[in-house]
């Protein structure tokens, strides 16, 4: 199979999967019991049926399900994710407005967790079975078992309530909003606690995957061959073991970045961080269906694109995939 054919096949598959995800979510949300008009307009919808009908026609809720679905799919192709019931604004604008705010948390935390996790994982695997390895393994399991939102609350109690050195909630100092460069510094200052929480929660993932893949690589035959040839452990590690065992954590990083938009919702809820996750939670509470659906489509697309990019990189690096179409 040529590279081009492989790519076309993967792109076609990705589009198909995205389509299925959109359709399933659309149906799940549309079949929800209860009238969204009631949630948005409240008592007015009951006292004035005309107004309710007007809203229904405005949002296309008077049409049958399949027509609405086709309309929705057609709009997505044009980059239109619909209008929010609550904000009366295009959904895509709502998402894009909050995206950088969420990415500040998730991108920073993910990079930190990746760097620390890979470092500790390599160190741990090099000292396999020693005390330091056992210790990091147990701490890894401990962090992995920690509920993210609870860790956020605990850190908040320690650093905001007791030590009073970090702000508890929000993104900027609302009472006295700083100007210019100080505004950015204030945002960074407010982001320390959420980023720390998110880093600590994500770290064991990278630690574990790096340690496992290191252990597996060291037990491969080629390592023994190089040892027999007489290469130093240092060279074997740097040239071969490290390069091979860094691949799984990088894959993980790619996949995780796709989910990054959604991944911080619980933390955003704890710290009152006005990102995409908060938008989703608020929309679920207020039954703002177009926003919920829009965020799903957005997240699913980013995960699928991340996966596609990873696959393309692999296909370029590894001729076996190009030939057999498998990895």
């Amino acid at each position: 199979m040529s590279l081009a054919r492989y790519l076309i096949q993967r792109i076609f598959q990705s589009i198909l999967i995205l389509l299925i995800i959109i359709i399933i979510n659309f149906i799940i949300i549309s079949l929800a019991p209860g009238d969204p008009i009631q949630f948005v307009a409240g008592d007015i919808a009951i006292s004035s049926p005309e107004f309710a009908d007007y809203l229904r026609a405005k949002w296309g809720l008077d049409k049958p399900l399949h027509e609405r679905l086709l309309m929705y799919l057609y709009n997505i192709i044009r980059g239109d994710l619909g209008y929010s019931y609550r904000y009366s604004e295009p959904v895509i604008n709502l998402i894009l407005e909050r995206l950088p705010i969420t990415l500040l948390l998730t991108l920073t935390a993910n990079i930190l967790a990746f760097a620390l996790g890979v470092l500790i994982g390599i160190y741990s695997a090099k000292n396999l079975g020693r005390k330091i390895d056992t210790l990091s393994h147990v701490i890894g399991l401990l962090l992995w078992s920690t509920p993210s939102f609870w860790l956020g609350i605990v850190l908040m109690i320690i650093f905001s309530v007791n030590l009073k050195i970090l702000p508890a909630t929000g993104m900027i100092n609302v009472r006295n909003p700083p100007q210019g460069i100080w505004l950015y510094l204030d945002i960074i200052y407010h982001s320390i606690l959420p980023i720390t929480t998110l880093t600590l929660i994500t770290l064991p993932l990278y630690f574990k995957i790096t340690r496992d893949s290191m252990i597996q690589q060291v037990s491969e035959d080629y390592v023994m061959t190089y040892r027999a040839i007489g290469f130093s452990e240092d060279i074997i590690f740097r040239r071969y073991v490290f390069r091979n065992s860094i691949i799984p954590p990088i894959t993980m990083f790619g996949i995780h970045m796709g989910f990054a938009v959604a991944g911080a919702a619980l933390i955003e809820n704890v710290f009152g961080w006005p990102g995409v996750g908060r938008l989703l939670l608020d929309s679920i509470r207020t039954r703002d269906y177009p926003v919920i659906l829009g965020i799903y489509v957005f997240v699913a697309s980013s995960v699928i694109i991340a996966n596609l990019i990873i696959d393309v990189i692999y296909a370029l690096l590894d001729p076996r995939i190009r030939i057999t179409g498998r990895r």
Binding site: I17, I20, I21, I24, N25, I28, I29, A32, P33, L141, L142, W144, S145, T146, P147, S148, F149, W150, I153, V154, M156, I157, V161, P204, L205, K208, I209, D212, S213, I215, Q216, P248, G258, F259, A262, G263, A265, L266, N269, V270, L280, L281, I284, R285, I292, I295, Y296, V299, A300, V303, I304, N307
Partner: protein, 288 residues
């Protein structure tokens, strides 16, 4: 009957191996303790977990070992009853998830072809959507009583098990004795239930234990967002109710979280040990 005895023997064998493993012992101890707390909840002569007769936001004292919450309810009683809810939700949801995952994974691996294609694509789709948000949306839209939560968690977490199972079955179906049984004329059902599943289920079992922890965590997260069952004091719900008061009454949120952490840790210890025992060749890559 003979098969039952054989399964019982295998079970005892696994427990024996677990006891030899440090993590296994720790996990078993922690989980038995939490289950014991959950089972004994009605017999501990604790005050009713919904009774609001006590002073509000009382710090831990001899009278109220874990203090009281914002409505004056005894936290110890609520945490102990919470163990019941968390354990129940965790095991039922993970059990449901395991049944679906093992079944679909086996079908995909054994039959291949179109069945495999369809099931594999479904699994792939699940890995591409944030399943926690699917659970969140379902819980918000379709009501949030405790049975609904179990169903939702079970229906959104099975793909991991299915993927593990499929990989195992793909190997098992190529074994020579499977071919031999086929040649004799055994039915597919018999081959799958007697010769395929028993040799390929071990990694799925280890995975299911880890899923129990995952299910408890999802329930806690949903409850923390206020989408849990309001009638039961699950740990996530306790954290949710306590959060507005953390500045003055840290125990209302922190203590239920410690129980949650210890329980999930125990399950992860156990799952980790089981993975090493049942699945010595494959590293414990399926962390969730």
């Amino acid at each position: 009957m003979i098969r039952l005895i054989r399964y019982a023997r295998a079970f005892i064998q696994i427990i024996k191996l677990l006891i030899r493993d440090k993590y296994g012992v720790a996990g078993l101890l922690i989980i038995s303790m939490i289950i014991a707390i959950g089972i004994s909840a009605p017999y501990l002569s604790l005050p009713d977990f919904n009774s609001t007769e006590f002073p509000r936001l009382e710090p831990p004292s001899l009278e109220h070992l874990l203090g009281t919450d914002y409505l004056g309810r005894d936290m110890l009683s609520r945490v102990v009853w919470g163990a019941r809810i968390s354990i129940l939700v965790g095991f039922v949801a993970a059990g449901l998830s395991a049944v679906i995952g093992i079944l679909l994974g086996t079908l995909a691996g054994y039959y291949g072809g179109l069945i495999d294609y369809v099931i594999s694509r479904i699994i792939e789709i699940f890995f591409m959507i944030p399943t926690f948000f699917l659970a969140l949306t379902l819980a918000a839209i379709y009501g949030s009583n405790i049975y609904m939560l179990m169903l939702i968690i079970g229906l959104t977490t099975w793909p991991v098990t299915a993927r593990v199972m499929r990989g195992q079955v793909l190997v098992a179906r190529e074994f020579l004795y499977v071919e031999a049984v086929k040649a004799i004329g055994a039915s597919d059902l018999r081959i799958i239930s007697r010769y395929i599943i028993p040799v390929s289920i071990q990694p799925a079992i280890a995975n299911t234990i880890l899923q129990v922890g995952n299910a408890i965590m999802i329930e806690a997260a949903l409850s923390y967002l206020g989408l849990g069952d309001p009638n039961y004091p699950s740990w996530g719900r306790l954290i949710y109710e306590g959060q507005p008061y953390v500045a003055t009454a840290w125990w209302t949120s922190v203590i239920p979280g410690i129980f949650l952490l210890i329980t999930v840790l125990g399950i992860n210890f156990l799952g980790d040990a089981l993975n090493r025992i049942l699945n010595p060749r494959i590293s414990t890559r399926n962390y969730t």
